[in-house]
């Protein structure tokens, strides 16, 4: 059974008092298998958010069908298995971190000792144990995203839908959220991720779909989509100039062409984190 099944989905929004209509999604079909981290990519206005909202039952499709673990996503029951973190969520500023999780737990049917235990587990998991009694009005952007992830996980869903989970978060917070998503993957939780941070998507997604003007223009396993079949990358360590000369000689004899040769670089993110969080001796 697929985690998400989208079949021939279309969504048309009528414009009030005009004859025009906006087609947000056109004949979209895709499947997300259980345990996968699926990246839904596309420029602004490409239909990503609309697709997510249809999957979550917040918007009804004009045509086609979406299912979550075999259940029609228009049925409220299908949301038993879903946790959702919207882009830039604010939640209720008047609640503390603990109260927020209690509220979401209660609407998912949790109560008593089980709810308290689950709240503590999740606050610990997202690193907000120290801020459990602080109101969300005083949380930083990164903390709000993390409490958002915790509420999404409150009823132990099998599917997480994350819309720009690292938007506006600093690099350290962004890496923490990325690590959490990888942790969810290890636990068998399926993740549908929408993000403009392509480097992060590349790090964590198994499969991606690219939407453009409501159409799915590319879809498949990430490593297959972005690998260049005719090229091979070899990274050498401690190679002396003699060894390199021999390699070049061998390559020129074989007829293969060296396209580029350079010192590998760390990522800017790693460099930034190294500078801002030096290792403690």
């Amino acid at each position: 059974m697929t985690a998400i099944s989208i079949k021939n989905l279309s969504k048309v929004f009528p414009i009030p008092f005009r004859r025009e209509r906006i087609t947000a999604v056109r004949h979209l079909s895709l499947d997300v298998e259980p345990g996968q981290v699926y990246g839904l990519l596309g420029p602004n206005g490409s239909g990503k958010s609309t697709t997510m909202k249809i999957v979550l039952g917040l918007v009804s499709p004009s045509a086609g069908q979406t299912e979550i673990f075999g259940r029609d996503s228009r049925e409220v029951e299908s949301r038993e298995e879903v946790g959702f973190l919207p882009e830039n969520p604010y939640f209720y500023k008047f609640l503390t971190g603990e109260e927020t999780l209690h509220f979401y737990g209660k609407i998912c049917g949790l109560k008593g000792a089980k709810l308290k235990e689950r709240t503590s587990e999740l606050l610990n998991l997202v690193g907000l144990e120290h801020a459990r009694d602080r109101r969300l009005g005083g949380y930083s952007k990164g903390m709000l995203q993390r409490v958002g992830l915790a509420q999404a996980l409150i009823q132990q869903p099998r599917l997480l839908v994350l819309d720009e989970p690292t938007a506006g978060v600093d690099p350290a917070g962004s890496r923490e959220i990325r690590d959490l998503i990888l942790d969810f993957k290890k636990r068998g939780i399926t993740v549908l991720l929408c993000s403009h941070l392509l480097s992060q998507v590349q790090e964590i997604c198994d499969r991606i779909g690219i939407l453009h003007q409501g159409k799915l223009v590319r879809e498949g396993r990430l490593d297959e989509l972005i690998s260049i079949e005719s090229q091979t990358e070899i990274i050498l360590e401690n190679a002396t100039p003699d060894v390199l000369a021999q390699v070049h000689a061998l390559l020129s004899k074989s007829g293969a062409r060296v396209i580029s040769e350079r010192k590998p670089q760390t990522t800017l993110e790693n460099f930034f984190l190294e500078v801002t969080n030096p290792p403690k001796n």
Partner: protein
């Protein structure tokens, strides 16, 4: 940052266990108590200070009044203020609930959980009704304390003047004072004030399901308040029941019937004026008015659900 404390799902590939129940009072209660908490933490009860000051301030005009007139004034001011404050509170508190949840995207996180839309709406309205109930009770307590304080002052003054009175006159005056202060007949009046506020909370919630902003919601709700109060006068005029008015055309009759159907006649809820004036009202009339208020509250909630159920979020 985190430890691996989240228990791994034991059987992630198994089909989900059906746990969802179609109607859950505990889910509604969770939303209602959260809404109530939101309103309390927005410090809505500051208006109670204004209410208390209004009653204390009205005492400044009582120096030359008889005891009966003083009690009458306290009742008039208190119940009038209670009626306006509960109505205002109902409209202002309800108008921002739905738009704020949509703007902050909090609504998405709630409806992305297994929460049916009708439960969300009932929970929100129930939260406002609970807050209005607490507010009405607190205002009633302030009102009763003010009335009791004035009664004690009146009794003290009467006792001091007792030596100059004829035999039996003292008891008669004390009886007059007690009969003029708090009587149980005021309770139905206060209940009707609450029901009228509940009706407006429901109406405002309905308007906010399709309104583009909370300002628009408040404006339409206030307009409905005036329509509700004036429709009785308009009906009397157009149907030829009062002051030599022309007979209504069939079109006007249809229009009036429609208005009367959509908006309740709010003049009916002014029974409290009769009660303050010392007129007793029939229990049957009170029950009918309360039932009418309850019915309109339910109808507005139902219509709100139909609009909200098909709303694209």
């Amino acid at each position: 940052m985190h430890e691996s404390t989240l228990p791994a799902r034991e059987t992630p590939s198994l089909p989900p266990t059906p746990r969802h129940v179609f109607f859950s009072p505990s889910r509604i209660w969770a939303i209602a108590t959260n809404t109530q908490l939101e309103l309390y933490r927005l410090k809505v009860f500051y208006f109670l200070l204004i209410f208390a000051l209004l009653i204390i301030g009205s005492s400044a005009f009582m120096i030359d009044f008889t005891f009966q007139e003083q009690f009458q004034l306290i009742k008039d001011v208190s119940l009038g203020a209670m009626s306006i404050f509960t109505w205002l509170l109902a409209v202002l508190a309800t108008a921002m609930l739905l738009p704020k949840d949509i703007e902050d995207r909090t609504l998405y996180t709630i409806l992305a959980k297994p929460v049916p839309r009708f439960e969300y709406l009932i929970g929100k309205l129930l939260g406002v009704l609970l807050m209005l109930l607490v507010s009405t009770l607190l205002m009633s307590v302030i009102f009763v304390i003010a009335l009791y304080g004035r009664e004690q002052m009146a009794i003290g003054d009467t006792m001091r003047a007792a030596s100059a009175m004829m035999p039996g006159q003292l008891q008669s005056q004390l009886n007059d004072i007690k009969e003029s202060t708090f009587t149980w007949s005021l309770i139905p009046g206060i209940i009707l004030i609450y029901i009228k506020a509940a009706l407006f909370a429901s109406l405002t919630l309905f308007i906010s399901t399709f309104a583009s902003s909370w300002i628009f919601t408040i404006m339409v709700s206030v307009a409905c308040y005036f329509i509700g109060h004036l429709q009785g006068v308009a009906r009397d005029y157009w149907l030829g029941n009062g002051f030599g008015s022309p007979a209504a055309s069939p079109l006007a009759r249809i229009f009036l019937a429609l208005v009367a159907l959509i908006f309740p006649d709010l003049q009916l809820f002014n029974l409290v004026d009769d009660i303050v004036a010392g007129n007793s009202i029939k229990m049957e009339l009170f029950a009918k008015t309360a039932a009418l208020g309850g019915l309109y509250t339910c109808i507005y909630l139902l219509v709100a659900y139909f609009v909200f159920a098909s709303k694209e979020l």
